[in-house]
Symmetry: C2
Subunit: 629 residues, 2 copies
């Protein structure tokens, strides 16, 4: 792994580029569109089998691809976009010093000096054209993006079906999908139809051709978003890019860039040109910077200009808090925690100060006109989401949700894609109501929730309090989960916190997929459990979400290599192992060719005899292995 | 805190004895039994309020009590037991070298030399008497244990009701209890009636008078168990006791001692004499040691002797895998992970080898006769629990559960208390079925589950995969959750893992209490959220389950003391804070004396004017505070 690194400029050394253990990037070609190459991660097991899993990490884990952050990663979607012939390159908006938080051009020139190689001429829809995937889908077109997604979602299920070949078991374990539609195989047509119905969204700005298409919808795998932000002490492109790379390594399906302060425009260029996943932003944050933090000074013109600025850079979805209406604000005054959404409180203050509805609401159709020129998706923000259990599912939250449903209809009129953001803090028994109301009010537009946190009493552990809620709401139908790190409410997440938050949310999303009965989802569980039962330790580590931690934990107690093939673990120790006995029972039954029923009826006597003859040591033979503590 | 420590022998220095931050032990006297003193933890807030929470930590967090592990903690229940006049002291079983894993008496003498001060003459029921709490309850007696529990479960709700005084909110948030019966106040009569019905268990061996009574039942607060085991390199009583102390500090309601190997008898003495919480064991582990690990050599006589040995020491509940029947064993051969319970596989191997039902099953009534002489509760073990999602809710698991239900009836016939152990690994959509079947098959005897883990793919994070399932099954009606640490499947938990597992399970249990609508449960959430909204950072830390971690996380980004009173946090930074604006909106409404409805109808215009007049800075004034990175 180090070989190719040294060949690159020093600034790229900071990127994490090692493939995960025992993993190899493989690419599956398209059928309708033969030039597409869908990346997957093939995990090689010690028994010769291969398990293929969804891979969000882009080219960074492919050692054959050279990456220079100053140039950006390959623009895989460019030929597809060009081939549609409905876009045009144009000069674009001139960068303003304020975009980066400066007051004069020379300051700005210094700031962007290192990023000029990442600035691209923007594309937009030709006059009269609409370039959204929703628009194409409604025309019956299967885009390369759609076929890419169909292949990607299937995860080469043909390779893992062997783990799911027991009819009794599959019958017993079939999921509860709460009305989701989960076909055995995802076809490009299915992707198209889901997008056309508004039930799924493909966030893919035409100015972000580097992104590997992915889909957000409750009839697909549950996705996870990670939030990142710029550092106060940013020193290089590579450091900012590494945050995104690190997130996608651990499974982030999309990344939201919530940077504030200086250099956010330029940082966004760095991230977008190097990101294989869709990037979301909250444009009101940057707009607020441009008016020096004075919410009341925000205007439609400044906001509009910011939308165009970010759309030209390639942001794939915008969180827009257009549902915070003037009449909803007083509904929050009796709350325990008032308004906790930053965007929500900016707009609430604006509404009160001006005593009128926000420009996000009054100019909503104007916003749609911009979105459809670039295929930016709406993520309609829940500005009035509850910030505590006490405020869950209250009047303010549900009133806003209804408004988001109305806005969804307007966006769809323009063929603009929409996802809906959701809470927040919700006790377990009220989570289902959130999902049901969202489906009802928002016409099945995909739901994208933060958590929800199921209790408020564990600061420092809110990845877990929220991971519980996330798994449940994902099961009920939420399409994408916004991760929460252990630092939530307390501080800025570091690298370890980001990883901890992501793994927590990946396991929650996966638990949801399994519970929904997503075809094939459980195959990875079964592969890992089989490895566990057969004491294939390496496979058990490598099939997990975090092979490094699993291995490290194992080695704390049993560090020697010989323990990696030991038929026991430190839980029971070498003296006695339940899995071992269990294997003996099974082996006996199989040797005798006993059917399951036969074994029940008549096999036990013989089994008993064999055990008596073949020795009765519960102790497992151990050579050269001792517990380290 | 250090003052009293230095006054004690050095061996006690290892004990963690500092009270949690801002916390003071308070004791509430009884009414029926005025001599009982129910311990609680009073958290002193910076605004003068006090929040009282359930406290499992015993005398260790009371700096006024001197503790010497060589003498044990005060036997608070001794007068209550004596007053009943239904027990007698007797010489008890003579300790055998094999109890500690030795072959001759001199080895053993050395081993127990340091613990002789902890050996007590055992009590047992007088001939013809039955000393179980179930027996007393059925006679209509309210024991001191029952009144203690009633006071303890109420957690001084009168102090926290102020957080729950909004009728609209309480109506909106009322829980879903799935048939649980959750009275507004727990009375001693209610405790008695629940115990009498078998719906709740008070594990309290008459030979463990040091324990502070607690209850396990779905109409009470959800409880958490922590497992501990002896170290291979045990060096002192205090080190073994500290594991238990550490567990109860972080909320363990009971502790299971799963020690194996040498010195387990003596270690058990150390733990029991110093434990303020009930102690559970799996006696078959020790019995197996006595036959050198050869499962087939186990006999009823050896097992019976082990039960008496441990009952005389004071173990409060025994896990007994009496439901592993011969005909169920072949049902496990087609499983992905066979039998994963240690006790289950020991008994399965025994049954197969002898081709007959186990002595646990055939001698079940004999076991009941022993249990009722000491008031040891059954924890009927789920020897056939699933070890992977693939095996969840299968024939073997459910067949055993039915048998456990039959055994429950037999135990109840003897007035012996029973809890039922449950899985394991179960996908989310099958968790409810577990709970429903358990209630049905086992006649509402309390359920005690391990997790369940909702996915198999995250070794290293199984406290979280199982915390999700634990929160859900706790909500559905499970009375006690057995914790899982991050090391599950991989290695032996260290001190940090034990804490991480416990906090995860305490938050899961609490999320369950809130979702069930347990009266008063949400008060702590509301108190913490109110502190958060009012930027009372110290209170936010101290009301949390882990004040130390919350504070440390906060200080990573904002270490200065001045940041502890700052009206912002590092999430949004000093530039902009949603909570601050939200407070402004509310303050305005309150200043004007506007009712909620008035504010909605007519207040907005005035509010708008005030914001215009009083300045419009979204920036929060910050003096001398900077982000550290």
């Amino acid at each position: 792994m180090t070989a190719f690194k040294h060949a690159l400029p020093a600034s790229n050394d900071i990127l994490t580029r090692e493939p995960l253990p025992a993993s190899q990037k493989t690419y599956i070609p398209g059928d309708i569109h033969p030039d597409i190459r869908v990346p997957m991660r093939a995990i090689q097991l010690t028994n010769g089998e291969t398990v293929t899993v969804y891979d969000t990490s882009g080219p960074y884990t492919d050692p054959t691809i050279e990456i220079d952050v100053a140039q950006g990663i390959p623009a895989i979607r460019k030929p597809w976009i060009d081939a549609r012939q409905d876009t045009e390159a144009y000069d674009g908006r001139i960068i303003d010093p304020k975009d980066n938080g400066y007051t004069n051009r020379s300051q700005m020139e210094t700031a962007i000096a290192g990023a000029s190689s990442l600035m691209r001429q923007p594309l937009r829809a030709k006059t009269g054209q609409n370039v959204t995937q929703l628009h194409y889908a409604r025309q019956g077109i299967i885009t390369p993006e759609m076929e890419f997604i169909a292949i990607r979602e299937n995860q080469r299920r043909e390779l893992t079906r062997r783990y799911l070949n027991d009819a009794e078991r599959e019958h017993r374990l079939k999921g509860e999908h709460f009305g989701a539609n989960l076909p055995e195989d995802i076809t490009p047509e299915f992707v198209r139809d889901e997008v056309a119905a508004g039930r799924a969204v493909i966030p893919c700005n035409i100015n972000h051709p580097e992104s590997e298409p992915m889909i957000i919808g409750r009839n697909f795998l549950v996705k996870v978003n990670a939030n990142i932000g710029n550092s106060a002490t940013t020193s290089s492109i590579a450091e900012e890019v590494e945050k995104m790379v690190w997130s996608t390594r651990w499974g982030a399906d999309t990344v939201m860039d919530l940077s504030t302060g200086k250099n956010i425009h330029t940082t966004r260029d760095w991230i977008l040109r190097n990101s294989p996943v869709p990037i979301g932003t909250v444009p009101i944050y940057q707009a607020l910077e441009k008016v020096n933090g004075v919410a009341e000074d925000l205007t439609w013109e400044i906001f509009r200009d910011t939308l165009i600025e970010q759309a030209e850079q390639g942001v794939d979805y915008f969180t827009i808090h257009a549902g915070v209406l003037l009449r909803y604000v007083p509904m929050t005054t009796k709350r325990v925690t008032g308004i906790v959404s930053r965007g929500g409180s900016i707009m609430a203050k604006w509404c009160i100060a001006h005593h009128q509805e926000s420009f996000l609401y009054t100019h909503f159709e104007d916003i749609c006109e911009i979105m459809k020129q670039y295929d930016v998706s709406f993520s309609l923000g829940d500005g009035l989401r509850p910030g505590s259990l006490a405020d869950a599912n209250d009047e303010a939250q549900l009133a806003e949700l209804e408004t988001l449903g109305e806005l969804t209809k307007i966006a769809w009129k323009h063929d603009v894609q929409v996802i809906i953001e959701g809470p927040g803090h919700v006790p377990m028994h009220m989570i289902k109501e959130n999902m049901d109301k969202q489906l009802e009010y928002c016409h099945e537009a995909p739901f994208y929730t933060l958590g929800p946190l199921t209790t408020d009493i564990a600061p420092g552990y809110d990845h877990i309090t929220s991971g519980i809620g996330a798994a449940m709401i994902g099961w009920f139908g939420t399409a994408m989960l916004c991760y929460v790190t252990p630092k939530e409410h307390l501080g800025l997440p570091n690298r370890d916190d980001v990883k901890e938050g992501l793994i927590t949310y990946k396991l929650a999303a996966h638990a949801a997929d399994v519970a929904k009965g997503h075809p094939g989802a459980r195959a990875r569980d079964d592969a890992l459990s089989k490895a566990r039962f057969e004491f294939r330790w390496e496979d058990q580590f490598n099939l997990g979400l975090d092979p490094e931690k699993a291995r490290a934990f194992h080695d704390e107690t049993l560090p020697r290599d010989s323990a990696k093939v030991a038929h026991f673990c430190s839980m029971c120790g070498p003296k006695f192992c339940s899995m071992k006995i269990s294997q003996e029972v099974r082996d006996y039954a199989e040797q005798q060719g006993l059917s399951h029923q036969k074994a029940v009826e008549q096999g036990m006597a013989e089994m008993s005899q064999t055990f008596k003859e073949n020795g009765s040591e519960v102790y497992v033979n151990v050579e050269d292995i001792t517990l380290s503590s």
